[in-house]
Amino acid sequence: MRVEVDVPKCVASGQCVMIAPDVFDQREEDGIVVLLDEKPPAALHADVRESAVVCPAAAIRVVEE
């Protein structure tokens, strides 16, 4: 799995950080998403997919490889 984030779309909802804190973080200055791990381990895949579903701004893309 490869994760991509579309930073300009992010609205800093924090949903992804809540669900997958090892994969997503937020910038200190404005809470906008920071991708920590673009190739997360299999154990986190379900959480990453859920983050992409609940992201209100469609800013997370999951590419299954």
């Binding site: 609205v11 800093a12 949903q15 809540m18 804190p21 200190e28 809470g31 859920e50 209100p56």
Partner: protein, 412 residues
């Protein structure tokens, strides 16, 4: 208005259903039955509002998500066709503009001025403070007489204290701002009442911004004041944002605390499961489930189409109003099996109680934290908590933009 009426009589044989739709007597938690029926029969259907306008009512989860996430859909109440909830909101929207009623890119630019304090980690750092506020309020309640109104004694002060600290608003003024906020979001308020409440709150925040300009502190109003000084916002805009944050920061969470407590007291097995768990993740699931089950922002997200949109076999035309009733979306069996069951162990994260799309709640990490602390503390510290009146005697906020109870007499 005459035009709209003429158009609908030729378009539809049957008169359109009026929205908002009433909840069923004896079912204070369930979304309006007429809207649930539409979800099965005609999930995107025209309805009639107070002013005779006929926007689309959208009742299914998938369609709600699609439309709230669609850039062709506007949240700007100044766009013709916008489905205003009442006259007061319509008139006030002309005077008071906040990012809640703006579209991107303007919306994103302004929202980002206030996102930093709501980042998950910054909010999590407030946990000890929120726990202390919660414990102190419970201590005071336990030391006092019963029955007690849980709204006045606990549900309202808790988020008010928290948002006051975050913004830099003196809590001593709570009677003033709570009263005016309540008037501003009451659907029965007249235009004059809405104007007066809005002016009073904006003037109040305006004065506080002046104070913060001269004497900045570590709070959000001081950050907004710095933006005024830098020329990024006018002082009136900063004050309006302060009003939005102050109201959104206390009225919503307060209702989730009080109504959530009523719902749990009515589902003793769920309350027992919540009281007995030591697992913070189980409490977090309960928070999401109660948000889903209660969908307290119950007047529908209001939007207007900027272009023609094909969805679910219907064509929403440019200029058509759209009302997205998340109460039924959050009770959509396609996403939440047996939606009428309050089940604190289910995975309810796909609910839209905080909305969806770019306007999704800015304060959600804070609201979640407050509810997490409350739901894991209140029922443990007062294990015999119970209603001091019959549930059908409770004054439910049918007339509020945000659902809940005006009063909650409890005893233990």
């Amino acid at each position: 208005m005459t035009e709209t009426l003429a158009e609908t009589t030729t378009e539809a044989e049957e008169p359109l259903a009026a929205f908002p739709m009433p909840r069923a007597a004896g079912c204070p938690f369930a979304p309006a039955p007429a809207a649930r029926a539409l979800q099965g029969e005609r999930p995107i259907a025209k309805v009639r509002l107070w002013d005779g306008s006929t926007p689309w009512l959208v009742t299914r989860h998938a369609d709600q998500r699609a439309l709230l996430g669609d850039p062709r859909v506007s949240a700007n109440p100044l766009v013709p066709g916008f489905p205003h909830p009442n006259e007061g909101f319509r008139e006030n929207a002309k005077r008071r503009r906040t990012f809640l009623g703006m579209d991107d890119p303007e919306h994103a630019r302004i929202r980002r001025m206030v996102t930093a304090p709501f980042a998950i980690k910054r909010v999590e750092a407030m946990r000890p403070d929120i726990q202390k506020i919660t414990d102190d309020l419970i201590d005071t309640m336990l030391a006092g007489p019963t029955p007690v109104d849980l709204v006045r004694a606990f549900a309202l002060p808790l988020p008010s204290l928290v948002i006051c600290r975050l913004l830099g608003v003196p809590y001593e003024d709570h009677d003033f701002f709570q009263e005016h906020s309540a008037r501003l979001i009451n659907m029965e308020s007249s235009v004059e009442e809405v104007f007066r409440a809005n002016e009073a709150l904006t003037d109040y925040l305006d004065k506080l911004v002046t104070v913060k300009l001269a004497d900045p502190a570590d709070d959000m109003l001081s950050e907004l004041a710095a933006r005024v000084r830098a020329g990024e916002l006018t002082q009136r805009e900063a004050a309006s944002m302060g009003v939005l944050l102050l109201i959104a920061g206390h009225e919503t969470t307060a209702n989730m605390i009080a109504l959530g407590t009523v719902a749990l007291l009515e589902h003793p097995d769920q309350l027992a499961a919540l009281r007995e768990t030591d697992d913070p993740k189980a409490v977090a699931r309960a928070v999401e489930e109660l948000l889903r089950y209660l969908s307290i922002v119950h007047n529908g997200r209001r939007r207007v189409a900027l272009e023609d949109i094909e969805i679910g076999g219907e064509t929403i035309r440019a200029g058509d109003g759209i009302v997205i009733y998340t109460g039924t979306g959050n009770w959509d069996a396609e996403v939440f099996p047996e939606p009428e069951r309050l089940d604190i162990s289910r995975d309810a994260r796909r609910h839209m109680a905080f909305g969806f799309g770019v306007h999704q709640c800015l304060g959600q990490p804070l609201a979640r934290l407050e509810l997490h602390v409350v739901y894991s503390t209140l029922y443990r510290r007062i294990p015999t908590l119970r209603l001091a009146t019959a549930i059908d005697q409770l004054p439910f906020k049918h007339d509020g933009a945000i659902y809940g109870v005006y009063e909650l007499p409890v005893t233990w």
